[in-house]
Symmetry: D3
Subunit: 148 residues, 6 copies
């Protein structure tokens, strides 16, 4: 559903946490199929046994896409995605891990060139069932200022 | 297949371009299903007709995941993904667009703290069949230095 | 997200309408694959041309499952599904149709045998982009009464 | 394949039982993706561990769709689906359960308004590998009477 | 459903024809995802425009797998697949083509070494909506002889 | 990526081996969905327990399609698929097996009727993690001869 929230209404520190979602073997197989990335890290259980991490792991782009999806609740019709910064994967995600994403407003500033718009930074942090961080990034939103 | 390429062997300006891939309605429906993002921008053709862009568009995370997949050829066993910076989506991707990714080494520097490793920046640029850029990002690789 | 709403708090006439969703060829192919129902009504475009409706149509169970999904927003932790009554498909759904579901509380009554619980009837009506009704049913919820 | 069976030819008590089908994690993940219902009951293994049922369970609409698919054998060209009544889910379906559906003609009556057609009720009952009933419903068929 | 048919009961010339099935873009995208074959012949509509056949075509293994599926009706519990010979793809299959498979018993002979078993050859021929042959192969069945 | 290799350049005995790929329950469920083959050998874990092989096994067409995909690396623009011979499945493939394909040039001969072209036979052999052969076939390539 749509709602309206202007640039001025975002507050540093605002935060929300998603439901959990268990990453399954199905997710990895489907993601390989969607992207064409069949690297043995994701698809060859025998090879993975010979590696330090021992198990098949999720593609980074899978974890990222699911994190974005976990945040896709109601839609602010005054905002759109501007981009992402500082995307990192501090730990691998394995089959059976349950992820949860926390979204926190960490910064806001007027757009340098487009008057009437601001950039709101929403830090995304994804943790697994052991509260270990598996993904962090800064999601930048391009948000309309309140009409004067 | 695996190969070995050390930090010292990357050269600024090295570049490769992927095969093309047409983004289909199927890709969008599957990506909504994988992520849980069923925003009307991707899933409601009637609503899209009322918007400036007129058509359903691909999720940003879909374009990003497919771009990463287009680059997933042979595997350098001396490198791993460190993260991504400056991910932007300059233009929307519509059903039927054919994407192609170019990967160019744009920067390299020793890792600030981990001796024996460097960070190699590979600029990813995705264009459509009209040579318009639809995605850019910097893919950072963590690469082993040559043994001394 | 979870919320709490007791039997007493439901009011006859309460209503909500979902976002729209366009039914694609992909949805039908995936549903055939999930269910094993490959009837020519859904999968054989040539045969469909010889029939009164001329086009491939969605499986009734697909329309029903998507209708249920369109209603799957926040979760009332005091309620669970009891069942469905009077499921009908007044008109076929074709590829490209955009569906929207309206959920209306139409009846409530104490459970005949389980004290402390009631049955709340939520009428589900799915319409297409021409405001034609393509599915109706009564979704029965088993809801906890307020503690006394 | 098509065959022809008129209203008069249905007999109360006729019954057939389907092959079995094991419900997999894949089925649940695909069904979440098809419907957009990512409720933790289906997708969050950690949360499920804290609930009475302990495990992820299939969506009701998944069990229903698969039941319908299990019955989709040869096609009676003299009949079409009229609707469903009394859909209930007496027990949850878990990953690894193997389902089998039994279809029994339980009632038939002339259509109240459309001369030359009758309504045939086919009771659908789905059981798991422990012979516990997990779904029941009445499938109503709209069937042509024999030409006079 | 299972039935029993012994080697002696197969007759040269016996034939059955499947229902039709339209090959969709979805089928090709899913098959690329299942196999990892993202060749531009299947996935790059722009490149295909520059080729003699002008359009994306189905993978040969997709047509073959669907042909096998079209023949997967009731199961002879006295037979199992022995292999396939002479698999050819006389014409390409394009998105929107509707395929139909005909299965004809063309040969039978006792197994050269295993007494009590025979090899029954079932010629599979797949045609499109213009009655052009797009796939042929000989499916060899290993069939039990009648007990003496 | 494309390369050029003429008939004369193929040498008997040339060989390459693919990366490994683990066959998952997901692969089997998706393949059933793609083909419509829901035989209990693949889909009914309870029935399989009563059979000699005890477990669900992959469809032969799934193993074949994945084998072909494992070989789909760079593309010789001077060759196209002519067909397949002698496709056999010496052992079943179970969920969790990791497959690897070896492709060896075993024969070449001028095309009997089309001057300037030859047929190159590439033997495909798929083995599992215990080095047991699960699929063999001869893939025939139709290859252009060097211009004179």
């Amino acid at each position: 559903m749509f709602y309206e929230k202007y640039y001025e209404e975002y507050e540093i520190g605002e935060s929300r946490t998603s439901e959990g979602r268990t990453i399954t073997e199905t997710d990895i197989v489907l993601h390989a199929g969607q992207t064409g990335d069949f690297y043995p890290h994701h698809m060859d259980a025998e090879w993975c046994k010979t590696q330090p991490f021992k198990e098949r792991m999720a593609h980074g782009t899978l974890t990222f896409a699911i994190a974005a999806g976990l945040g896709a609740g109601d839609i602010n019709s005054k905002a759109m995605t501007y981009g992402y910064e500082h995307l990192r994967f501090p730990r691998p995600v394995f089959i059976g891990d349950t992820l949860r994403a926390t979204f926190t407003i960490t910064e806001k500033k007027p757009h340098p060139r487009k008057t009437g718009f601001g950039i709101v930074t929403e830090r995304t942090e994804v943790t697994n069932q052991r509260d270990e961080t598996v993904l962090v990034c800064d999601h930048l939103h391009f948000v309309e200022c309140q009409p004067k």
